[in-house]
């Protein structure tokens, strides 16, 4: 069995590798939690690329029902067709719409199935999928057929911790919490995304970035994906590294901060801090 060792575009820590490989080998779902922007969703893509498998993504919303992942019976179309006298109406199979799980189960080669942001859905959502994820099969009442996975797909589930997940569901998964990366890991990650980035710029940018994360009272602390966006901007604008270091002149807010701070309260907070800082100096 192929092992996941990270890819050229994704830095995986040791604990993450162990968790992914355990889930792949034992064919159990892997639940990933962590701060927003630490690469939970990207992980599924990278696992698919690394193991040479197809990726099927199911993005969960607050209104998503577990049933939609299996199949949907489009009763409205059938009713309409019956009113119009369409011949298709006699075969109920015409109105069964396959869901993502069905696609994943019927695939010729076991794909990677991503169930993204499972906590967005109703609190009962994970419970409704227990049996399906455990046995990898489900029953279609309308056509009286049982859909069974030809090959058990690798299932990766992400959660942003907005709701607690039921115990029965958790027991069936492997679990990994992606911590916010340390400085060294962060440097590796940046190197992977922007090879050959000027080391001086990188050092100054990381300094500014970690300082920014330390500021108390931020509504949303910037995370990895924000850092990568910001670096991209810095490089595109060809900002000089010295500019990032200009703390003492009262420029507390780093240039192009729009990529890092995502709401105006945070920007205001920063402007106020910068103001106090200037006043303290004069």
């Amino acid at each position: 069995m192929a092992r996941f060792e990270g890819t050229k575009s994704f830095v995986a820590t040791d604990d993450l590798k162990v968790a992914v490989n355990a889930a792949v080998t034992l064919q159990r779902p892997l639940l990933i939690k962590g701060e927003p922007g630490t690469g939970k969703t990207v992980l599924a893509q990278e696992v698919a690329t690394a193991l040479g498998k197809n990726l099927i993504s199911w993005h969960v919303k607050s209104t998503t029902k577990a049933q939609q992942g299996l199949y949907e019976y489009d009763a409205v179309s059938r009713l309409r067709d019956s009113q119009l006298g369409d011949a298709r109406v006699h075969d109920i199979g015409n109105y069964i719409i396959r869901g993502k799980l069905w696609d994943a189960f019927e695939a010729d080669e076991a794909p990677v199935l991503l169930i993204d942001e499972i906590d967005k859905a109703d609190i009962e959502f994970p419970n409704d999928l227990l049996l399906e994820l455990d046995r990898m099969e489900f029953f279609v009442y309308e056509t009286r057929q049982t859909i069974k996975a030809r090959n058990r797909p690798i299932i990766i589930i992400t959660s942003n911790n907005e709701k607690e997940l039921p115990d029965a569901f958790l027991r069936r998964c492997f679990f990994h919490y992606i911590r916010f990366p340390e400085r060294e890991t962060m440097e590796q990650i940046v190197e992977v995304h922007y090879p050959g980035i000027k080391s001086l710029l990188l050092r100054e940018a990381l300094n500014a970035f970690f300082d920014l994360r330390e500021v108390p009272g931020l509504k949303k602390r910037p995370s990895t994906s924000e850092l990568l966006d910001w670096l991209k901007l810095l490089m595109a604008e060809d900002i000089a590294p010295e500019l990032l270091r200009e703390r003492n002149t009262g420029k507390l807010i780093p240039p192009l901060h729009g990529a890092l701070l995502k709401n105006e309260q945070d920007v205001h907070l920063f402007e106020r801090l910068a103001f106090l800082h200037r006043r303290g100096q004069s």
Binding site: D14, D15, V18, A19, N21, A22, A23, T25, L26, R28, L30, L31, K33, K61, S62, T63, V76, L79, R80, Q83, E162, K163, E164, L165, D167, L170, R171, R172, C173, F174, F175, H176, Y177, R179, P216, G217, K219, Q265, L269
Partner: protein
Amino acid sequence: MFIGFFLALRAAGVKASLREYLTLQEAMQAGLGDYDIDTFYFLARATLVKDERFIDKFDRVFGESFKGVLQPRAAGPDGIEVQELPEEWLRLMAEKTLTAEEKAEIEAMGGFEKLMETLRQRLAEQKERHQGGNKWIGTAGTSPFGANGYNPEGVRIGQSTSRNKSAVKIWDKREFKNLAGDVAIGTRNMQVALRRLRRFAREGAADLLDLPGTIGSTARNAGYLDLKMMPERHNAVKILLLLDIGGSMDEHVMLCEQLFTAAKGEFKHLVHLYFHNCPYETLYQDARMRPGDAVATTDVLNKYDHGWKLICIGDAAMSPYELLQPGGSVSHWNQEPGQAWLTRLLQHYPKSVWINPVPSVHWEYSQSTRIIRKLFEDRMFGLTLEGLDGAMRGLMR
């Protein structure tokens, strides 16, 4: 295999199930453990812990359970490997933590070299994990070597502040400490009460069948069916929780923790902040209440608008001066009395209650409790199911 570890985990409150334990066995059988302690640690963590809040407990139990296993590994064929004892680290650490007198005592014992030499000898003599006692290296003893001991010239082993990364085991770093802080038992009945808080607001995406709308638009559509949907009910309650930590509060921490756990699963937005005795100009994001975690109360007021509901949990037992006099706080100099800050909070959050874990029969005998109760216009409730019911009703008015 590892049954002791598994039972220790359960005893420590990490609710790993038999099924997960069997999964771990299966994983080991599949060769995922790699016969490497770090890999095994990651594997066991991914299998047995399903919530980041429990990872810290897991780390502690893991360290406890496998300490004895690790000790022989550290020892080389000739007794002990020198690199496992980072001398400079011990020296630096001691210099940082020891007072001049203590350093003098160490000098009396023969200086650092002597201390290190003795440590090396002891480690070589020692064959197994040890706890207590006054000679062997282990935990909680009075020997100069080991962790959590009481000897002034003691050397701490395996604690988290090492400069030498390889010498410290990952689980000893306790990186998930801040995510802990709950008890998951006995919260069921509280959840029932807290559920009253769910206010159903009609927002979100189309989901439910809107029958009158469907009839109307089908009629307009010349009889062809046209389904109309309407938004699903959606939980939109926002809670700001202020918890009294430390001091006279300690005996109630257990009860509060339970309420806290119950609350966490129930709302979409829940922010918890900590204070000591009475909220003043600073609140804390962390129960340890270090200066780094401080947030200004004015910032809190600006950040969370009046749509939030305020729940204070505390025993409200303090010196009346803390409420009435500037500078009355026990822990710092406060410019304005606690009463002023409470009034400010109450004006900002029209929906607010105070939950008091002390049985309500005692409230009358404490002056500060009476004052706070008056400030909250009698919206003070006990930490019982009944009290919670009342508190939820108080918030819904």
